[in-house]
Amino acid sequence: MNSRQILIRDVLVLLAFAGWALALPHYASEFVTSMALTCLMYVALSSSWGLFCGSTRYLSLATSAFFGIGAYTTATLLGQFGWVETIAIGAGIAVVVAIVMGAAVLHLRGTYFAVLTFGMTELILHAVTYFEKSVTGTVGRVLTVVPENQVIYLTVLALAVLAVAVSIWVRRTRFGLALMGIGADEQRAQTLGVNTRLVKIAGFAITAAFAGAVGAAMAVRWTYIDPHTVFNPFIGFQTVLITLIGGVLTLWGPLIAAIIFSVLAESLRLQFPQIYLMSLGLLLILCVLYLPGGLASLRWATFKGWWTDTRDWAKDLKRELSGEKEREKQRAKRREKESHFV
């Protein structure tokens, strides 16, 4: 029962990961714990993103929009509602927005969808700013009631574990199969009975729910929130980059990449933010061109393949530079001789 074994393996790894993350704050420094928190945040974001966008190839660049919605919900409601309720409401509002936007744009091709979600963050940022200015009269909000660091950490950890668990589970359901079918051949899947519109909206809503929840939880790390701080496109972009580089179709690729890049980010980003982002961009390009399955698909065979590819390319080049010239000369000579016989 190979599939059963894989399930057991996945669940065990997840539990081990969860256990390790739980124990971490007790023996590590505050700096490391803070880094772990960022890492867990990206694990949650990239796993849920990869779940929908990986299989269907509809690349959502709207993660920042949903993150911001969640964060803003916390900023507005945290005093009045409890911690868990606020996070749930944040996720809920994000889901509603996702359903509305999804219904409007998910029937388009994947590339149109990507560019549209790309602009969504700006759009929602402006909408929220306008709303704040005209309706409530405030421009930013101050967070007064803030839970302990321990609570934040545990919440984000729970979200990360939940995201991976949902990924593991969905892959085994009809819904997961529908997502894969949409990515493989959407029209064919439709003729086999898949209501692709509904499935896509549901998948998009799942990414929104997690992004919103994570945003709601992380908001308390800022004391003062205004639309520009929380609707920062960078968060969404980094999620996309991490998942794509890690291996968008795999379960563990995003997780491993999230860990690697959170570490890198914390060390590089503060000092050389642009270089960090430039290298992410470059890495993404290289990955798409030479390693479309992402880092998770790296095997010995891949390295061997690259080696033979480069060797062949060099041989080709040599032949071109030297051999062609030879042949051209011979062909020209032959033509000359033949023309004499005319």
Binding site: R57, L59, L61, A104, V105, L108, R109, G110, T111, Y112, A114, V115, L116, F118, G119, E122, L123, H126, A127, T129, Y130, K133, S134, F237, V240, L241, L244, P273, Q274, I275, L277, M278, L280, G281, L282, L283, L284, I285, V288, L289, P292
Partner: protein
Amino acid sequence: MSITAWIELIASGLITGGIYALVALGLNLQYGLMRILNIAHGEFLMVGAYLTWLVQTSFGISPLLMVPVAFLVLMALGVVVHFLCFRRLTATSPNLDVFEARGLMVAFGLMFLVQNFVSWMWGGDLRGYDYLTEPVKFGEMQFAANKLLVFFLALVFAGALIVLMRMTLLGKGVRALMQSAIGAQLMGIDTKRLHPLMFGIGLGLSGIAGALLSMAYTITPYMGQPYTVTALIVITLGGFGSMGGALIGGLFLGVIEALGMHFTNPSLKALLSYAVFIAVLLLRPEGLFTRKSRKA
């Protein structure tokens, strides 16, 4: 509102619309011909703007002169980018959808590279220079000279491209390829040379747009992003693959935005463009300015 106020408003809309049209034409070339959705398109506009600004502030060369230079530089850059980044995708992608998705991802990576390179080299502050800022009067109406120039040149270049596409053999070849890739190739049109060239021209156009923008507005490394989204909206408005449609669509969107911003609120500009976009998609997906001819 008086007539002059109306005309000024519409004119300012047309001016931004001209820029939109230029950028959209470039994107149309790339997506319509090669199915590469260059989400980094706006970043190259920004590069054109920075190039012009650099040359103007360091050497005092007139930005007008830089417009063709920006075009050539960006075109060369485009050919190189296409060769390095996109050519391999055609060989390794199993089908069109995967190719489009991968092209998008490569462009996404490019966006980071270019944006942060510029930010790293020249910092994230707003930059700008003054050029032809004296107002020009038409009767009672008043426009900044540089903005008028921007509009005029944008129209000239957009028109030039459309003429190129209609009249020259090259243009006809490109349009043939857009309609039927295999048919055109069977006719002997060489995509290996044509694709990088057209990609380059697309980028060159956004370089011109950037150079023009720098004349009248301030520039930052992040200015490019909104233009990419707007360009896509314009292409949809005008009809995917249609050059004339992109031109008219760009102008049209500029005017709608100007009117909308004036009567409601400037921060709702993005909302307005999106609303227009979604409305067009739902009601007339083949574009507002094309004849109804859905591809079979």
